[in-house]
């Protein structure tokens, strides 16, 4: 059970992972508040990218509507907290359940009616856009006016209600990201991971071998949407404000999946590396622009787009797979 997590992983890969984790553990003690907020963003994208990767990278189902799960979970936990005083650690379970239910409904409709590939991707966009407009008119959570959590200066951290300093959020997110990494490794090395691999590569052959494709695709959607729900709850309590326009937007869905695509779809470390690279890139461009007093709107994102274009043109499998080969870290990380 435990041994399968590290079987076949070169020792130096484990050492490097350990070093990275240790560095992230001590980071808040040494870095500035600003850098910490950037690191929180990195972990947020790493975790959410990992969750999306379960569906796309493992089971091969392209979802372009993951902002739906983030948004629904964020609103659920926030509404429970604001309207009923139910804390996030209780609310998160309902948030996960509702997110999973959304995922399962979409998955059921799509997989039962044989919708795949591009059509599936468009269906996921359609559902998240549908929900966005719905929430714009959902007065219980203040519609398009935005839904706010009460904010105060917290002298003491209150982890039970997720109220406190960025450092507290950082450590919670780091724990979640690390657990998700281990969980995904566990999934990949188990029976289900191999089933997904078969479904992703050759669905017909997988079916011939007696794999219940429908069931395992549904499981992938359920796990992915449930994991994504956690990012939503985190988002709600970290940023304290929710706007349907932002949280459900198509741009948000795209932002979430850039990390794993740039890092390397289907790999375990790809989403984490992708999150680091992209956040560093966006932030670096920001600094660069400010430094040269070049603050024309749009310039930054044009550069960002050009960088994405370059990566996708010349590194079709993402950054991580060629890198891990170079470092001699095996094929399954």
């Amino acid at each position: 059970m435990i041994s399968r997590l590290i079987d076949g992983v070169p020792k130096r890969a484990l050492i490097l992972l350990g070093l990275l984790f240790a560095a992230l553990l001590v980071a808040p003690l040494v870095v500035s508040g600003y850098t910490l907020s950037v690191l929180i963003l990195v972990l947020y994208f790493a975790y959410t990218g990992q969750a999306w990767n379960v569906m796309m990278g493992f089971a091969g189902q392209l979802s372009l509507g993951h902002s739906l799960y983030v948004g629904v979970a964020a609103y659920t936990a926030a509404a429970l907290y604001v309207h009923f005083g139910i804390g996030p650690w209780a609310g998160v379970w309902l948030a996960i359940l509702i997110s999973m239910a959304c995922g399962l409904v979409i998955g059921f409709l799509a997989f039962r009616f044989g919708i795949g590939g591009v059509y599936f991707a468009l269906l996921t966009i359609a559902f998240s856009e549908f929900t966005r407009v719905g929430f714009d008119h959902f007065t219980w959570v203040n519609g398009s006016g935005g839904f706010f959590l009460p904010v105060a200066q917290y002298s003491v951290n209150d982890p039970l209600n997720l109220r406190g300093s960025p450092v507290m959020f950082y450590y919670i997110l780091l724990a979640i990201t690390a657990l998700a990494f281990v969980f995904c490794r566990w999934l990949l090395t188990g029976r289900i991971g191999y089933y997904w691999l078969a479904i992703r590569e050759e669905p017909e052959a997988a079916q011939t071998l007696g794999i219940n494709i429908f069931r395992y695709k549904m499981i992938a959607v359920a796990i992915s949407s449930g994991m994504t729900a956690l990012s939503g709850v985190f988002f709600a309590f970290y940023y304290n404000n929710l706007f349907p326009e932002q949280i459900f937007s198509m741009n948000r869905s795209i932002e979430l999946i850039l990390g794993p695509i740039i890092g390397g779809i289907g790999s375990l470390f790809g989403p984490i590396l992708g999150a680091f690279v992209l956040t560093a890139l966006a932030d670096g461009l920001n600094e660069f622009m400010v430094h040269f007093g070049y603050e024309m709107p749009g310039v930054k994102l044009v550069f960002y787009g050009l960088c994405l274009l370059a990566v996708i043109m010349w590194l079709p499998n993402g950054i991580w797979p060629p890198l891990r080969k170079k470092l001699g870290l095996g094929e399954r990380l």
Partner: protein, 289 residues
């Protein structure tokens, strides 16, 4: 609610929908032949709208005239995009193609933002407020002209694909990629040509849209999505289907704006999409794959 009002709004919606249909036609042609999802479609339309706005602002050229050179420029843009960027991606997985075009879309939106800023712009031609009176109904002149042009362009394109040798060759590529290669068609060049034709459609539609709506750099993604909705509702690869889809979506937008809230209009379009995807995935006028 008076019946004339409902009819007036419905006709407005149908006429606007025909222009939407022309825009979506470009996507349908590209997707139907090249099998690549053009995620930068709405952004290309926005580029065309800005070109029309500049032509009008700088030289006073009517967008309906500027439409011709704009379509030519967009044709070139599409041809180059396919030849340089997309052809190497033909055999890559879908998510890879998606990323490529999402990056192109990002560059286009923000390039426009850099050049023109975030403010909304439009074109006020001197006949902008004219209308035809048919009995109790008032119909905008601009909408009638643009809708007629959209139908004429679609008919022209239909004839091109049915009658010309190049059009037939392109359809052959769409029907059987391998077969087209075997009989010696230059598939890559035909793909580039197809992408160019689709882009010219969206160019013409963009020039017309400059007359109908306010343009900002950020409307691109919404129109990309809308083009997809229309194409899937109408039926992929069906040219009348694109127009029918456009009309349906235009009508549903107008009606939901009238009976509910204008901000809820895209919800109805998407509800139609979801229903069509589930119960008639090949689209209303599409052939079964």
């Amino acid at each position: 609610m008076p019946a004339e009002l409902i009819f007036n709004v419905a006709i407005q919606g149908i006429l606007t929908g025909l222009v939407y249909g022309l825009m979506a036609l470009g996507l349908s042609v590209i997707f139907g032949v090249v099998r690549v999802v053009n995620f930068a479609h709405g952004e290309m339309m926005t580029i065309a709208s800005y070109a029309a706005i500049i032509a009008f602002g700088a030289w006073g050229i009517d967008p309906l005239v500027a439409m011709v050179p704009i379509a030519v420029v967009l044709f070139a843009l599409g041809y180059i995009m396919q030849a340089v960027l997309i052809n190497p991606f033909i055999n890559r997985p879908e998510h890879s193609q998606f990323m490529l075009l999402a990056a192109v879309a990002l560059i286009m939106v923000n390039g426009l933002l850099m050049i023109f800023g975030p403010d909304a712009r439009n074109v006020m031609v001197d006949y902008a407020l004219d209308s035809f009176e048919i009995g109790p109904l008032l119909v905008d002149k601009v909408r009638v002209i643009t809708a007629a042009l959209a139908m004429a362009i679609t008919a022209g394109l239909f004839a091109f694909f049915k009658l010309s040798r190049t059009g037939k060759a392109i359809r052959a590529c769409a029907d059987n990629h391998m077969g087209a290669l075997v009989v010696g068609l230059n598939v890559k060049r035909l793909y580039a040509l197809t992408f160019g034709i689709g882009s010219a459609c969206v160019g013409a539609a963009g020039a017309m849209m400059a007359l109908l709506i306010d343009t900002t750099p950020n409307i691109g993604p919404a129109f990309t999505l809308q083009a997809f909705v229309i194409v899937i509702v109408g039926g992929l690869g069906s040219m009348p289907g694109a127009l029918l889809g456009g009309v349906l979506i235009g009508l549903s937008e107008a009606m939901s704006g009238l009976f509910f809230a204008p901000s809820a209009k895209s919800m109805f379009a998407i509800a139609i999409l979801i229903l069509v995807l589930l119960f008639r995935p090949q689209g209303l006028l599409g052939r079964k794959a």
